[in-house]
Every structure is written in C-alpha cells, then in structure tokens.
Symmetry: C2
Subunit: 305 residues, 2 copies
C-alpha cells in the first residue's frame, strides 16, 4: 500500500458520551480518527491534525497499529479538542453538551510532504482549515478531493464552505445538512443544487435510513444495514466517509459503479462503528467480518424482480 495515496485532514478528539445505554467520560474520537481508521481497511492513510499534550499514547497506538501515518499530526502545549454529547431515545440526533476547542484553534495544516496525495479527504473540520490545506496542494495532480461538513459550518462559515465546494469532486453530508445548505426539502433537488456549486458527486447520509449517491446525472440509493441495537452513533458518518474514500483510493477507480461499491462498503463499516462506544468495535473488526455482513446485506436488499 502506498502510504501517501490518501491524506485526511480533520479533528482528533477526546469525547465524553452519553447514550441511553451508558456513559463514558473519555472516548477516542474526532472526524480524522474515525475516517482514517475506516480507510485503513483499504489503504494506509496519513492524517493532518493537531492534539494536545494530554493526548493518550494508547490512542496514538490504536491508529499506528493499523498503519496510519501520524507524522503530520502536530502535538502542541495545551489540551486536545474535547466534545461532550448526548443521545436520547432518538439516536439519530446528537445533543452537544459542551465543546472545548482547545488546541484545535491552532490547526493550520502545513503540507510539507514532497508528494501531493492522489486522494484527499477533508473530513469534518472548519472549512477555513480545509481551504488552507487545499491551497497547499497541487490540484491537477490529485485524482479525488472529497469533503464532509456539518450544520455548524453551514450556518457559521458559509463563504469558506462555498469556496471549498467549488474545488472538490465529492461532498459527503447528511440529509438535514443538505436541506440546510440548499433550502430544498427534496433531497434529489438538494443534491442537484449542491452539484451546481461544484462537486460532481454528492453523497447524502440518512443515518438508519441509508444513503443516496448522486454522480452527474446518475444515482444510486441504498438502505442502511438494519441493526437490532445501535449503541453509540458517534463517528458513524466519519467512518462512512473514510471507508468510502479509502475504498476508492485503493481501487483507483472513480467510475459510478466503483462509487456505488464504495458507498456500500462505507455503509457496512459504519454499521459496525455504532455497535460500541467510539472506535471500540472498529478496533476488533476484520475484513472477513466486513465481507460476511456485506453478503448478508446484499441478500436482504435483493429485489426478486
């Protein structure tokens, strides 16, 4: 695996989580952590991020053991970014109880690597940071630039976000975010409006309801893998995005068919993430387990027509 094939910028965090099924004070989280871990089932991504001096060695080891390159993760005096969230009976909605930005406010990516990566995933982080990294890379040498975002940036960083949109190939976002970004109720119309802003590929995540992929004029819809129990939804979207981009980076095939496969792998891997707190389930996940669930998934979605 080519270690510089996929670059991921995003957050590395220490989360405090409450779900109806339990409470944890310190859970390894962050958009880049989930995305890179998920991508690592397919390739060896490199993370651009920042952590504080309190960032536990054991968290670092979790990523390094999967071959994830942390040489571009800055360690800085101060505390790591922390997010405290709670989920009620409706696990689709996270309530943010507290956000401590901490060292994250100093995240200014420096791409001092010699090679521009072929694939870039701008995971969920301030669009100003996404732009800063984009500005340092040689766009013509890149095959795929993908980004994720969230409500907070759509509302508070619209101009920077619009600039990001104009420069990416693929946007991953959830249904509420797609509606907020475009003012359209219909997700089909929302996707078309987003495509007009730049990305030819738009992937709308609907949590327990599955995913819609829009690629030029083509589209693909897939339900979520039905789970008896969702334990902690944190990181499901980041996992999905990371697995999707990781799959594409490995295949180096950016056709519609390949995207459909990538979206399906993303769904399956995300369905494992939510079975435990944080990254816990992913750290024991194996490729045969992924393939088994994929087979089962194909079976339950097969239309006998």
């Amino acid at each position: 695996m080519n270690p510089s094939n996929l670059l991921i910028v995003g957050t590395m965090a220490i989360d405090a989580l409450e779900t109806p099924f339990g409470k944890e004070e310190s859970v390894f989280g962050g958009s880049a952590s989930y995305a890179a871990y998920a991508a690592s089932f397919f390739c060896a991504p490199r993370i651009v991020s920042i952590v504080g001096h309190d960032f536990p060695d054991e968290y670092r080891k979790i990523l390094e053991d999967k071959g994830i390159d942390l040489s571009h993760v800055e360690v800085r005096e101060g505390k790591t970014f922390r997010w405290r969230g709670r989920y009620g009976a409706d696990l689709n909605v996270a309530e943010t109880l507290e956000t401590q930005i901490n060292v994250l406010r100093d995240l200014h990516p420096h791409w001092n690597g010699k090679n521009t990566p072929e694939n870039l995933f701008l995971a969920n982080v301030d669009p100003e940071v996404q732009l800063e990294l984009l500005n340092q890379l040689e766009r013509p040498r890149m095959k795929l630039v993908a980004a994720d975002t969230m409500n907070f940036w759509i509302q508070g960083r619209r101009p920077a976000l619009e600039k990001v949109l104009a420069r990416i190939d693929l946007l991953v976002l959830n249904d509420g975010e797609a509606r907020l970004l475009t003012g359209e109720t219909s997700l089909v119309r929302a996707a078309r409006k987003i495509q007009e802003k730049g990305p030819a590929m738009v992937v709308i995540k609907k949590g327990e309801h599955g995913v819609m992929l829009f690629y030029g004029q083509q589209f693909f819809v897939v339900p979520a893998y039905p789970l008896e129990d969702v334990f902690d939804p944190t990181g499901a979207g980041d996992t999905f995005g990371g697995a999707l981009i990781g799959y594409l980076a490995k295949q180096q095939d950016y056709t519609f068919e390949s995207l459909c496969r990538a979206v399906t792998y993303g769904s399956i891997i995300a369905s494992f993430t939510v079975e435990r707190f944080g990254l816990e389930r992913l750290t024991t996940l194996t490729l045969p387990e992924i393939e088994d669930r994929l087979k089962r998934f194909i079976q339950i979605c097969r239309m006998p027509l």
Copy 2:
C-alpha cells in the same frame, strides 16, 4: 379477475388538504379509497365502508370505473367522514386540523356476502370495526388477513388493536407507529415484538426512506423511489398497503419472495400517489408507467457487487 378475491374495509372520506404547494377544499380520500384504487391495478377489490348523502357521484364513479365493487358501501343520512390536514416543509408529518367523524361512527360492517374472501385488508379504521368484520368471516377459509393502523388507535384503542393483531397474518404500519406500539427504538426489535403479538409478517413504512419487511426470521429492506417533488403525501401509506395486498391477491403466492415483490410494487405505486393531490395521479396511472418506474427503480438500487 375474481371480484370477491379481496375485501377491503376502511374509510371513504372527503379531505381538505394544505401542502406547501397548494390547498384543496374537497379531495376524495379515505383509507379504503386509496387502498382499493391501488389494489385495482392487480385485482377487483370489494370495499366495506360507509358514506353520507353528500358523497359525490363522481367519486363513486372513479372507483367503479376501475372495477371496484361498492355494493357493500352503505349510504346513510348525514355527512361523509371529513378530514382536514396540513403539511409543512417536512412532508413526512401531517398535522390534523379537523376531523369530522360524521356517518363513520355508524360503520358496523355486515358481511352478508355468501363467500368469505380469500384476502382481507383491514385498512386504517377503528380496530373495533376491524374486529367486527373479522368476527363475521370464516378465518380458516382465508389465505391472508392484513391490517393497517395509526397512532390514534395505538393510543386510544389498545385492547381492540391487540385482539386484531392476534388474528392477522400481516401488519402494515409506519416507523413512528411501530415505535409507539412496542416502546422499542430499534425497528428490528419493534418488528420482532409485533410478530410476537400475532402477525408473521410485519411491514414498516418509512415514507421517503423506504420500507422494511419482516417475514418470520427473514427480512427485506428497500429504499423509496427518489422523487424530485412530493406534492401531497396523503394516502401514500394506504396506497402502499392496498397495492401490496392487491398484488398478493392476484398472485395467490404468499412466499417471502412474493412478499418482497409485493412490497416493491407497493412502493412504486405509492410514489405516484404523492405526485398530485389525493387520488388524482392514480386515476391516470397505467400499468406500463408502473413497469417503467419499477425498471428504473431496480436500476438505481442495484448494488454492483
């Protein structure tokens, strides 16, 4: 087509509707009307219901022209059941502005037909009425008994509803209703709990997010057909249920595979209903249009794996 092959009990109504796209004072509605119209693409259903003297001949003609048998629809002094509803930007949620029960309070089905039908659809109506009809039929001679219900009955008619559940093969309900009925957040768990109450087959409708079918231990999930515009969601669920049962009544095949096909046809036909007010779109719908959309649907759901 055997005219007594499918019996549908439910409401026939005059609706007043407001959606973000328009307002109509008198729209032909009711659970039995939508369900029977949808079923009529596959067989010739018979309706058991009640209307007032104000029920328009043109509404009657809409159903009769499709071969629907209205000989068991009682016409009574008084006004037809009326429902006034509104949809906001979130078309998944109907707000009831007014319900005029009118003659519907006198709906006491009399099954004076000689033949017990092979297929019965207890469309959305008071479970006491569903039970009353069930009590007049010879269960062992029936192949499929299906029912639909709603929040209002789950909250206000629980004992009668539980009796209905114990005597049916298939329950159709939406995701919110499944959660309300069982207290389970997970739809997989909710379906299992409903199966324990009686029906071997449980179909959970998720509106724009598709459908989940549980049949014994087997299951099938399918997204909704993605529409650019949803004009009026009224009757989509009744259409879905009616088309599903109509398809099964025609095929006389109650295997899991046949159910999967029935669910898919139900989704497709419901996707037309929401394109116009009330039954309007269905009245111009043709079988070739249904087959065309089905083909397109299969294409956009096909997993290239």
